[in-house]
Every structure is written in C-alpha cells, then in structure tokens.
C-alpha cells in the first residue's frame, strides 16, 4: 500500500464547506394542535453530516420542542425511521451530500402519530410478538452447544439482521389499508426461526402466518425490500414463508 496522498477526503475541514439545509417538517403536538402542521427551518452544516444531525441542530439551537426518537446514530438500533423526501429511511444513515439540502420530513405511516415524528410503536411490536419470535427447541442439548453447519447457519442469516425499525412494515400499502395485517417485519422475524435448523416451532408459526391477517395478504409490491435499511431481501423472505406453507416444506 502507498499512502502518499490522502485517498479520501473525510469531513475534511468542517468550517470551510458548510451548506445551508432547508427542512420542512410535519409537526403535531397533541397538547396544542388539532391537526398536523408544516414548519420550516434552515440550518448550516457540513455536507458529510447526517439528516439526524440536521434534526439535532434544529432541536438544540432553534426549537427544543421538535420531537423524534434516536439513539445509536449509525443505523443499528432502529429508532429513527421516518419519511424523508417521500421514502422511509433512517435519519442517521443518510448524509446531506447524498440526499440533498432540501428535506421534507414526516412520521412513518400506518402507525398513529403521538407527537411530531414519534409514532405509537406498540401495535408494531405486538405484531412482532404474535409470531413467537424466540427459539422453540424440544431437544436437550445438555451442557454442550448445539451443532449447526455453516450452510444451515447461512440459511437464515439475512433475516437475523432485522433491527425492528418498521421501515418495511410502514412502507407497505396493504398495511396502510389494513393494520390487522401482521406486516413484513413480523414475517421476517418468523422467517429467522422457521429456517433455523435448531428450531422446532416452524409449524406453529406457519399456522399463525396462514391466518387471514397473515402472509397471504402480501401482494408482492416490493416496497418493503426497497425500504429496508439493512438490505434484507424482505420480499424473498415472505415468498419463502408462503412456499413453506403451501408445500409444507421448510
């Protein structure tokens, strides 16, 4: 390797290259508003910064009442799903230089808005719980680890990546129309166990997903796959679950 010159220009000199970012945010305060309203803000920041940093700048320097969830700030905790310029995204993994300086930000759809960008996540987590998202194993492995081949481990690798951010479920037109539908995220969670060679609960989960609010509601619109910030092939996982039900095969 030769590193005579800097190959990258990471956030080089912050002060030198600030840009003006314009935010249009859909706001709602249940204690004062009767319906949502739009509010606009301008902030100055580095193009290498995140959309989340823009929201923080507003909150910390202009209007402390602006309300949104966040924690890790690098796309692993799933707190900050929101609709950014029309698409479901995590605010913390989208940089201004990629997404632009004009931002329209709204809460995710299909879950009730509580305040500004904060929605009621409880129905979403209840759907997650409904598919029995935990290992069900009837064997007694004793004091040893269970063995699992690398191929068997790879079989469900993709769906272990889910961070329960709800980007997929709240981008699904079927879910918007019918909140009884268990939704893509819960199916992903079920898939993670159905295809785990150590698990004995596949049939119970498939029975749950075969019900009328289950997996056959899905009309394969692919919104979920596009929305997933973890790059999980959500539609494919749903198809695999459908096939497992139809052909009785895991």
């Amino acid at each position: 390797m030769t590193v005579t010159e800097s190959p990258a220009t990471p956030k080089a000199d912050k002060a030198k290259e600030l840009v003006r970012v314009h935010l249009r945010i859909k706001r709602y305060d249940p204690e004062t508003d009767t319906r949502p309203r739009w509010q606009e803000f301008e902030v100055e920041m580095s193009p290498g910064d995140r959309v989340l940093d823009a929201l923080h700048l507003v909150k910390w320097t202009q209007d402390g009442t602006l309300t949104f969830r966040r924690s890790c700030a690098h796309g692993v905790c799933g707190s900050d799903a929101m609709v950014i310029n029309g698409e479901n995204k995590l605010a913390c993994i989208n940089l201004i230089k990629n997404i632009g300086t004009d931002l329209t930000i709204e809460p995710i759809r299909g879950l009730e808005v509580i305040k500004d960008l904060v929605v009621d996540m409880e129905p979403f987590f209840a759907q997650h719980r409904s598919v029995m998202p935990y290992l069900i194993a009837h064997d007694d492995p004793g004091y040893k680890e269970r063995l699992q081949t690398q191929e068997d481990r790879d079989r469900f690798d993709d769906t272990t990546k889910c961070i329960l951010c709800a980007c997929c479920t709240t981008s699904c037109p079927i879910y918007w129309a019918n909140s009884e539908y268990v939704g893509p995220a819960a199916i992903v969670s079920a898939h993670r166990f159905i295809f785990d060679s150590r698990d004995d609960g596949a049939q119970e989960r498939l029975d749950i997903l075969n019900q009328k609010s289950g997996v056959f509601r899905c009309k394969t619109s692919f919104n979920c796959t596009e929305a997933c910030p973890r790059g999980i092939k959500v539609t494919q996982a749903i198809e695999e679950v459908k096939r497992a039900i139809l052909y009785d095969r895991v």
Binding site: C72, P141, D199
Partner: protein, 583 residues
Amino acid sequence: MNVHYHSYDAVVVGAGGAGLRAAIELAGEARTAVLTKLYPTRSHTGAAQGGMCAALANVEEDYWEWHAFDTVKGGDYLGDQDAIDIMCREAIDAVIDLEHFGLPFSRTPQGRIDQRRFGGHTRNHGEAPVRRSCYAADRTGHMILHTLYQRCLAKEVNFFNEFQVFDVLFEGEGANRRAAGVVAYEMATGDLHVFVSKGVLFATGGYGKMFKISSNAHTLTGDGPGVLFKAGIPMEDLEFYQFHPTGIYGFGILLSEAARGEGGILRNSDGERFMERVAPTVKDLAPRDMVSRAIHAEIKAGRGAGPKSDYVYLDLTHLPPEQIDSKLPDITDFVRTYLGIEPKKDPIPIQPTAHYAMGGIPTNVEGEVIVDDQNTVLPGLYAAGECACVSVHGANRLGTNSLLDIVVFGRRGGKAMAEYVKNVGHPDVPKGAEAKVRERIEQLKAGTGSEKVGEIRTTLQESMTLDASVVRTNESLTDARKTVEELKAQYANIKIDDKGEVFNYDLTEAMELGHLLDLAHGLVVGAQARTESRGAHWRDDYPTRDDQNWMKHTLAHLEQDGSIRLSYKQVVAGNYQPMERKY
C-alpha cells in the same frame, strides 16, 4: 402531573444485555418489572460488533486461566482477581447458555461455535494471539441483544418501555438504608410512576456522551450511576475511561477490533505499520490503551494523515474480498456510508474514540452495590453491565470482555436479587416519595433560567475530548476541571423550550446532562489525583505505573455542595503478580 403507584418484588432498570440477562433469571422467580427508557432492542448492546471471549477451545488449545491472566494484565493489575476468575470461568457456560437461547453464532466447518483473535487475548500467558472470541459476523451485540430479548418474550417478562428512571428510593437513613424502589417518568404521558420494590438492579449502560468523539449512543448518559451518585453512593474508578483506537474519522463510529483480528493493519501517513515498533509480538492486536496512545504519538510526531495530519489508517485492502464480506460486512458498510470510500480498495481514516467506562457503580461479584472501602453492601441494591464496576476490567478493558461481563454478571445479579427478595419484607415508602422529582420537573418547566442544554453539553464534550482523554497532564486536567465546574454552575440555571407532557425529550435531555456533568466531574478529579499512568489513564507528567502508591481503586463521593471527595479501596490480589506490561 399524574402519579401512579406500583408494587413489585424486583425492578430492573435498563434492558440492554445486562438488564435482560438479569430479567431472565428473575422471571418466574419474583414479581419483576423491567423499566427502560428505550425499547429493549434499541439498547446500545446492539451496537457491539466483534465478539465475546470464552476459552471454549473450539479451534485451538485454550484455558480459562489464560483468559484470566490476559484480563488481569490487560487491566494493568487494577482488576479484582476474584471477580476476574469468576468471569473467565463462567464465560464458557455463558456462551453455551446463549447458544441454547438461540443465538446464531458463526460456525466452524465442523458446525461448532467459531472463534477468532482479539486484542490482548493470548495463548499461554502472552506467547501469541489466540482464537478466543465467539462471534456472529460483526454483529455479535445485535445478536446477543435480540436473543436475550426473545428469551424475555418467551418468559413473558413485564416491560415498561420508554419509562425513564429519575430517582431511587430507600427505606431508612444513613448506614441503615435499604433499596425500596425507583421513581420513573413515562415518556408517552409525562406521568410519574413510583415503583416500590424490595430489590432494584441498575443496568443503564455507559456514559460515553460526555465526550465529543464517541462510539456511544446519544442515550448513553450514565443515568444509573448519576442517580446513585446523587444519592450518596460513591463511584469507583471513574478516571479509567477507554478510548478505542479505531473510530471512523470525524464521526467516532466504531470499527471493531475484529477488523485487526481478521488481519487489518494500522498505518501512518508514510504507510508504515507503526504497531510493529510499539508491540513487536502482538503488533496491531495490542490492547486498546496502547494502540490509542501509539496513534496519538504518531499524530504528535507529524506522521498523521489528512489535511490536518490528525488521523491514521486502518488498512484492509490486502484481505480477500470474500473474507471482508463474510466477517466484516457491517463495519465496512459504515465506512461506505459515512466516508464514501471502498474499504476493499482504500485504507480507512480512523482516530481514537471514547468507548467504554471501566468505572461505575461499585459492586461485589453477586452484583450487590457496595458503598465504602470496607465493601459494605447496601441491601437490595444491585448493578450490572457497563454502569457497574465489579471490577473485572481494571484500568483497561480487553475487547470482547464487556459482552461477557454483561451476561455473566447480569445473570449473577439477577439470581442474587431473586434470592434476596424471597427473604425480606416489603419496604415502607411514604406517600409523596416522588416529590423531589416532581419539583425538579416543575422547576425546569417554569423556566426562569437562560442556559441551553445543547450548549452546555457541547462545551462539556469538547473539553473532555481535548483535556481528559487518551493523554492527560495536570495542566489539561486543571482546565477540564475548571470547565466542568463552571458548566455545573451554569446547569443550575438552564431553561428548556418544551413545557409539554407528552414525549418531552427536551426535559429528559436536561436530566441526562446533569448525570454527565457529575460523572465528568468525578472523572477529572480522580484523574488529577492519580499521579501515575496505568491502563487507559495516561499522565504525560507521570508516565509510569506506581504500584507502591496507586495499586488501589478510587472511590469518588459527590458531596452535598456539589464537590467531589476521594477515598480509596484495595485491589483484590490473586494468582498473578504485577509485572511490566509488554506485548
């Protein structure tokens, strides 16, 4: 402001790895409530990448005693060896337990749990790096957090999500206190909840948000330690704060040591592999404190890269692309996302990032909180995880030993508390126990002040990163102390914008800042007093370890007037005598 009362046997505060592991032990044994300010799966345990060490010997010869030796040495002989022995011995069961709970570990070709190298972990007392870290690609923490949460769902654990604990309750006074519950703030309504309970276990995680460049989540603000500090419980070894060598330049986002475990190399602006000079045997896999200081030295000597010569490179370009994709998928994605470069082709700009608190709430090996240098236990009060100090990490934690710590001591704490609550009566808590918290909230909302939370926090973070991080001197610590003390005075006069009840993060951030300030205060005062260099605490003006005077734990006490008083506590000795720390 409505107030609700609840009665439980056990309350767990925090639902990261430590809190969830404790809850699994308590479920079915005691009436338990788990209170968490974040949905459990949002906890920062989910951000851990590299792995969790245990001497399973699945891929090469290994013994828990070797693991214990490495932990003692890595901690620069400040760790308590009784606790370290327990952790390293129970590590093996802890990993097997997680596998049984369903954790999808990466596997060997024989189908066993795979293991890889990690900084400071060696075979036979330092001979060469050993494969000891059990992992699931580079998302081990995510898998641990989700697996434990899943287990809790199966066990129908009772969660109170988005309940932020603001205060702890006791029965009795002074030396006769016993834990009696907590006061929590419900985000969705702004209501207060008084949880009266026989046992309380704090598992609130770290406090890395007192630094500007940090791998920690915005929510890691030291709430548990902060609340207890204010309640007269001393904090142990706050000055030992770990800076991880490889944070993404400018962001501080972590690139796991697994990158070097897989063969990644650190290089300065000349392309030189400088760790060869510093640690000839283990090179890039030296412990974190040493690597961070080596980077600092390279930069200081003018061998840093970039327009400001203030970073070095982590080079993965020589690794097979398939290995990068299968073993380091997430962290290489972070590099693409935040720096816009391809780590298979370009070396990655990195700088040390504030990462892990070795110090915290003093506990014994059962997770019981101790309140003085005599190891006196405060009945009913427990702590586990990063917020606690057992102390297994001593002056410097080895990579992969925290995920281990949280499951081993989360389990022990949960078990011990389940036992304790069976044998004691329900505490007496007078009506109006929430008065102090209510007054504080009303005072903040009445808003007579003028200082902004965001500004105070930024100044604190900048000052701590500049003056109290990888390399410290009396002068820099004097500056930091002055800044923190001024900020504490300003904090008394803050104002918040949001006066509402529902999801008032403006209010919770103000409360969190109070904890950060108190803990930063304890950190700088402890660091200034400690006139030696040990582990992560490096004093340029006292560059050697001084076992004669300083082989002891610091206990910082927050006094009524807001000042810090220090006392000291003995280190528990064991099999390994202090020796020079060379790698």
